[in-house]
Amino acid sequence: MNDMRVIERDVDVTETKISARGVQVYYADNHAIKDVNVDIEDKTVTAFIGPSGCGKSTFLRCLNRMNDTIDICRVEGEIRLDGEDIYDPAVDPVQLRAKVGMVFQKPNPFPKSIYDNIAYGPRIHGLARNRAELDEIVERSLRRGAIWDEVKDRLDAPGTSLSGGQQQRLCIARAVATEPEVLLMDEPCSALDPIATSQVEELIDELRANYSVVIVTHSMQQAARVSQKTAFFHLGNLVEYGETGKIFTKPEDSRTESYITGRIG
């Protein structure tokens, strides 16, 4: 099925950005992810959908080793970013997370000024040599976060003074400030109103020109609207992965069909 949006934005590439093979995740004795194999494409929005507890967020967090912070969590298998194993002992997770940025469900700006929220990452990663360069990064990031016009006159105001939707776009701007290659989003719109949701969705579509975006969402309509590829997780298994238009019109697996049509599976 041709996806018109791919043509529209003219970023029709199918290069694999992240490749996962035989990924298993255990929380102590709980087998949370069961042998997941998936190739996530570059310059594409990939949506992970599935009922609560199906493992979609867990798998998302494997992609930038956020699960490292959970003691009882054990990850097996292989995840490669541009062909390099991200679980190799030589890989610095902090550097990895600069390349694989993350946006969370609840907007979580630092208790700092809008400017410093953005400047924090570039500062610790040494991306700017002087104040002028840092200013430039802050402006560019806020523009990419589609929030520059709303905050340019009050960069010193605390990030927490913004509305929920603005805070979330600030967090997205913060995530892109370190020039990541992949952006992971865990329910980025669940705390936002429909207008702010539309703004974030438009932003996601724009970000696709430069990044590989992976979004976990409970809203199937959102997955249908923003993604080109959709992966359906159920009970820790990756049940079906394919072109979004096909998943929503002609899914192959009856479990996928039951879930997307709102039937008891």
């Binding site: 199937m220 929503f248 899914p251 069909e257 997307i260 049509t261 008891i264």
Partner: protein, 242 residues
């Protein structure tokens, strides 16, 4: 009449059932319309023909209601996968049924003219048989829809070839009558249009049966070979052999 798996939101099931009930009601009216139009023609019953013409209004109204309900379900429930196919199929089916109703109404209208003329021997029996076949096909297509029976639907599609053959035979018969006696031309032209109407009904029934296959598989079956005589780029006799 629904799939064995129910929606978590039971109101969604009720919406889908309601819209399919409307289609079935429409189908029932259209079946009756074909039967009665054919009967009016065979028995030269002007009153019954008039009734068929008046009853078409109810079919048109149902089509409108089906479309309104379908639009409502799309707006409120954002159907996907098989649910989406149900909505898309009822919209196509309602439009096919409405067309069949119109053709039946046209048949009744011509009957009103024909009863004023001397009868052409034997022809109305063949037309009645042809109408009965189309009506049986419609009944099976609707049954196939309710039972989600793709095999029965395919059978209906295959039977349309018979209707096309009947039309071809009648076409030649009317041609002969007209050549024999030019005074038959007006009546035979009307009878020919009636035959063509019934042949077109068969095509619309085929379209309905195709929706059953679409509902099951997500694929619309490919173009079938047409067996009727008249094709746009050739004379009536020119394409008779295909």
């Amino acid at each position: 009449m629904q799939d064995d798996r129910r929606h978590i939101a039971s109101a969604f099931d009720r919406d889908l059932e309601a819209i399919q009930a409307l289609i079935m009601k429409m189908g029932g009216l259209v079946e009756a319309s074909i039967t009665e139009a054919a009967k009016a023609l065979a028995t030269r019953d002007e009153e019954l023909a008039e009734e068929v013409r008046l009853n078409d209004k109810a079919i048109d109204e149902l089509e409108e209601r089906v479309n309104e309900e379908a639009a409502r379900v799309i707006a409120l429930r954002a159907p996907t996968a098989v649910d989406l196919r149900v909505i898309l199929s009822v919209m196509k089916m309602s439009s096919a049924l409405e067309r069949i109703g119109d053709l039946s109404k046209n048949m009744a209208k011509r009957t009103g003219v024909l009863v004023q003329m001397p009868q052409i021997n034997g022809s109305t029996t063949a037309l009645k048989r042809m109408a009965r076949e189309v009506e049986a096909m419609l009944k099976d297509a609707l049954d196939a829809y309710i039972q989600r029976d793709a095999e029965l639907a395919q059978d209906v599609i295959d039977r349309d070839g018979d209707v096309d053959q009947m039309y071809n035979a009648l076409f030649r018969e009317f041609l002969t009558f007209m050549m024999e006696d030019p005074r038959n031309i007006t009546a035979c032209m009307h009878l020919h249009f009636i035959a063509k109407n019934i042949e077109r009904m068969g095509d619309h029934v085929t379209a309905i049966a195709e929706q059953v296959i679409f509902l099951r598989s997500g694929e619309v079956p490919g173009d079938r070979v047409k067996h009727d005589l008249i094709t746009p780029d050739a004379g009536p006799e020119g394409s008779g052999g295909d």
